[in-house]
Amino acid sequence: MHIAITLADITIIKEHTMHIAITLADNNGLESSISPVFGRCPFYMLIDPESKEFKIEENPAQSASGGAGVKASQWMIDNKASAVISGNLGPKAHDVLSSANIPAFKFQGGSIEETLKAYNDKELESFFEPNVDAHSGIQE
């Protein structure tokens, strides 16, 4: 006897997976470097911290003329990120993410592997408030 799994079921399964969004400076799979910038970093990784299943996508807000933080945060919401890990977080991005109840955590250096371990061990510091001014990503 075989069990039929429909496409709809798969979608449901996927939606229930935890997806941590990580800001990336390059696109190198699990070897990618984590970017200190939130709104204007070139790539985002969405990764399940347990299974390490991941996908990497280009950040549509990277070269926005303004409001990159807002647009990037909207991307996090639309892509159902359950948490965000970034080096910095500006005031508007912080507003949007906290309105959507998406917790943001501060990247403390190291590889993706190390960062995920720190996240799983609850060692990452949470952004209770923005740590940089608006437009900080432009200078990076």
């Binding site: 409001g67 945060s73 909207q74 919401i77 508007k92 949007v96 608006a134």
Partner: protein, 298 residues
Amino acid sequence: MIITIASGKGGTGKTTIATNLAWAITHTQEAENKGTTWLIDCDVEEPNAALFIHPAFEKEKNVERLLPVINQDQCTGSGVCVDVCEYNALARAGGKTLFFKELCHACGSCVLNCPEGAIDETPEMIGLLQQGSRDSLRFAQGILEIGFSSPTPVIRDLKKWIIPQKIQSGSTYILDASPGTACPVVESFRGADFALLVTEPTPFGLHDLSLVAELIFKEFKISSGIVINKSGRGDEIIEQFASEKKIPILMRVPLSRDIAEAYARGTLLVEAFPQYKDQFIALHKKIGEMIRERQPKQ
């Protein structure tokens, strides 16, 4: 005629040339019964032409923009406003639509596109316009409200307030633009007949002159001429550029301590050194000729 004065680089002497040109031609224009001379300070982020003109202001007008107000009760969370906002001023988060005023350009797209009609608009003051005169020179300026970062709507309203649809023949409007080549400068050039480019003979002056010359060449296709301010050493780099681009050098103001001192006292060059008056009148005449040559023959 409308003459817009720009430079690309800041501090090259746009305001010096604009104020002196305006003041020098005012009385000639009037004597020849040729209409009015207006000086319009379009550098609304830091207008300074009034420091040299000392006008008496007679009229004021507020500049407002319309900001969206989201009626959260009517909002169904379609997210349409978020998608149509070119400036990322809106976000949909936690069942609410968030609005970031600092990012908004008041374009009205969200209001027009909201499927529920859940967005109203409310006016917000973003600047002040003033007009007045000194003798027969008419003067106007815009002042951007402190804390606002988009001067363009203030410049647009200022021009609309002062420059009529049909300009009386013989009247001259001199627009002192801001530095750079971005939207405020583009707005200051819109509708202009002539681009007067003020530069200084330095690599920085040349670099930014080339940017503003490119803007004129690509977007406006109007005649232009160069004024070299602080002239005397290094003019060759500007001369070479001018001859390559076929933009005539119309006037030079030398680098001189006397001129700098008069400037620092808030005195016009043509008042401190009357010999310059004829040079500015000649500059105006030459600009008039260049505009006429450019116009298609009837």
